[in-house]
């Protein structure tokens, strides 16, 4: 279930340098045994670096309009100036993809992180409390799970007022995070249920610790493995959801570069004359989600093969 199984090994290793080399050999073993996961990780790394250093990597500004390069005038083909072509406004697609990676990764990470964290806390409380509280929480989760995630996200968008903090669209993040809560709560609850029955939880109770301390310090740290696997897998789902919402016009709004947004509006009129306008943004979404899925899958095989996500 957890990493506990091989923990005793490290306590027997005496030399001070041992943990470091052990860590390195663990990484090497992961690379050897999970080649697909390693590929996923490398793709994510490249995206992350180009997102962080977007101003240095991108050849143009993502909002630089040049109507002479628009496919509407028969221009904008991928060439030496615009490697991946230009969109309806003559904006460089490669640059918009690179800046779009910022939107995708930040919204993806934040929403997966918040959704999974809240879900993990609820799941742990549900398992620890048991009885009526557990029943109530589980029925609530049943209700939430009876909606497709896109519908749940759309409902949140409909309900919440527009809210932008530090240039980040909070609504979109909340809308994407909420569908992850019930799913994570389910998975973490079942992981926590096996821990709740262990003697050290009884010991903590006997020692007089309060429920908050037991949940926070004794149970939560032991469901970290499934939690990390879920966060990784859900970043991919979140990126997909962000793209879908932006495509529908309910997510990120212009002129923020977003992969989903690049596929909507006027850009979708260029099926025949400018296929590059449609092909590359979709490819970027697919590649990102693919990479996170590969990594998530491999992390599961590595830490917790029986986990159902």
């Amino acid at each position: 279930m957890t990493l506990e199984a091989d923990a005793p090994l490290s306590t027997t290793a005496a030399p001070a340098t041992a943990p470091k080399s052990r860590k390195r050999s663990q990484i090497l073993r992961f690379v050897r045994e999970q080649p697909l996961g390693t590929v996923g990780f490398l793709i994510i790394l490249v995206m992350f670096i180009s997102a962080v250093f977007a101003p240095y990597v991108a050849p143009y500004s993502p909002e630089e309009v040049d109507f002479m390069a628009s496919p509407a005038l028969g221009a904008g083909q991928p060439d030496a100036q615009h490697w991946l072509g230009a969109d309806a406004f003559g904006r460089d697609i490669l640059s918009r993809l690179i800046y779009g990676a910022r939107t995708a990764l930040s919204i993806g990470f934040l929403s997966a992180f918040f959704g999974c964290s809240i879900g993990a806390i609820i799941g742990t409380i549900s398992a620890f409390a048991g009885g009526r509280v557990d029943m109530m929480i589980q029925r609530m989760i049943d209700v939430m799970l009876s909606f497709p995630i896109i519908i749940l996200a759309i409902i949140v968008i409909a309900i919440m007022p527009k809210n932008v903090v530090f240039g980040v669209d909070v609504n979109v993040i909340v809308a994407i995070a909420i569908p992850f809560i019930p799913k994570t709560a389910r998975v973490i609850r079942s992981a926590a249920l096996t821990i709740v029955t262990l003697p050290y939880i009884d010991a903590a109770r006997v020692a007089g610790y309060g429920p908050a301390r037991i949940v926070g310090l004794h149970i939560l740290p032991n469901v970290v493995a499934p939690y990390l696997i879920l966060v990784t897998a859900y970043i991919g789902q979140a990126i997909l959801l962000e793209a879908s919402l932006s495509f529908l016009g309910l997510g990120v709004v212009e002129p923020t570069p977003s992969w989903g947004l690049m596929l909507s509006g006027v850009n979708s009129d260029y099926y025949m004359t400018a296929p590059w306008v449609i092909i590359f943004p979709g490819l970027a979404v697919s590649l990102a989600v693919f990479a996170f899925n590969l990594l998530g899958d491999s992390l599961r095989d590595w830490f917790d093969p029986k986990l159902k996500i």
Binding site: L36, D142, F147, P148, I151, S244, L248, G282, S286, N293
Partner: protein, 318 residues
């Protein structure tokens, strides 16, 4: 079996009630005033009195508990209220458009089984070989490719090869099966790819789990042919969890076709959802959310009953 069916049926009632209450409360906390937005979009110049009058006409000026009572009484009589935007009964509006969505969902489910089941079986039977790896990459990319983008690629492909798009419209399978099929096959395919991946992965892991069971060893030890072992003893048991996945997939598709319907311009439930949000149509949104949740709960019920019929262990447990 009857006892289990009754027990399962009783469980549905509190769930549906909870959904109805939650939906009501959620949509009442919407910050923007739907009436004000509606009037502004219609006539521009709007006074406070006009808004108040309209609110009273639509029953939105009543205290919350009165609104709730009206809503629940309405629900009991199968009345979902009047759309704030089109002024027509919500149920009627949904009725006009749900057929297309159900047909699309059925076709997509069918296609996904057709694609996913063989892939999952192959991957399990050839575990660890190059087949398994290729299928794994296919299924993971199935989960990664956005359905709407796949739809756009399909449209692009159709334009490049046939030169025109599939006919768009609302022909039902009941009227003209061939035309309806032509209309829906491409959108169905763009959705089915993803669910085929889900089914393939599910089936692969459940086949592998079943094949390591004792009774499979017994069947082999009995001297049964390998084909018989896999088909009669393995597949029958491995298919059970997949039945659930397929059922739930269908249930989810009723509401989950939002993006696909947008790409292929299909006038179904999914497009209604986006319209309801854009036009701030509170009652329509309420009706749609209820519809999606109810259809999920009911399909789930059917799947559970089916499952219990197929696997005696379940009805004895409950």
């Amino acid at each position: 079996m009857l006892k289990y069916a009754l027990y399962r049926l009783l469980l549905v009632i509190p769930t549906l009630l909870a959904i109805a209450v939650i939906v009501f409360l959620l949509l009442r906390v919407i910050p923007g005033d739907p009436v004000a937005i509606k009037l502004t979009s219609e006539s521009g110049e709007v006074t406070e009195e006009m808004i108040q009058a309209e609110r009273e006409r639509l029953g939105l000026a009543d205290p919350l508990h009165v609104q709730f009572a009206n809503y629940m009484v309405g629900l009991a009589q199968g009345d979902l209220g009047i759309s704030l935007y089109t002024e027509r009964p919500v149920l009627q509006e949904i009725g006009v458009r749900i057929g297309l969505t159900i047909e699309l969902a059925l076709l997509a489910t069918f296609l996904s089984v057709l694609i996913g089941a063989p892939l999952g079986t192959l991957a399990a039977l050839f575990r660890g070989t190059i087949f398994d790896y290729i299928i794994r990459v296919i299924t993971i990319s199935g989960l990664a490719i956005p359905g709407f983008w796949l739809g756009m690629l399909i449209i692009m492909f159709l334009l490049a090869t046939v030169g025109h798009l599939p006919p768009l419209g609302t022909t039902s399978f009941l009227d003209d099966p061939w035309l309806a099929f032509n209309q829906l096959i491409w959108p169905a395919l763009s959705v089915a790819f993803r669910y085929a991946a889900v089914i393939a992965r599910m089936l692969r892991s459940s086949i592998l789990e079943v094949l390591s069971e004792d009774y499979i060893r017994t069947a082999r030890a009995k001297g049964l042919k390998e084909r018989m072992v896999i088909i009669k003893h393995g597949m029958r048991n491995a298919l059970l969890p997949t039945v659930t996945v397929v059922g739930l997939e269908f249930a989810f598709l009723i509401g989950g076709l939002v993006v696909t319907e947008q790409v292929f311009n299909i006038n179904g439930i999914g497009k209604m959802f986006v319209e309801a949000v854009v036009f701030n149509d509170l009652t329509m949104l309420q009706g749609l959310v209820l519809l999606v949740a109810t259809s999920f709960v009911l399909v789930n019920l059917i799947v559970d009953l089916l499952y219990a019929a197929l696997d005696p262990r379940i009805r004895y447990q409950a």
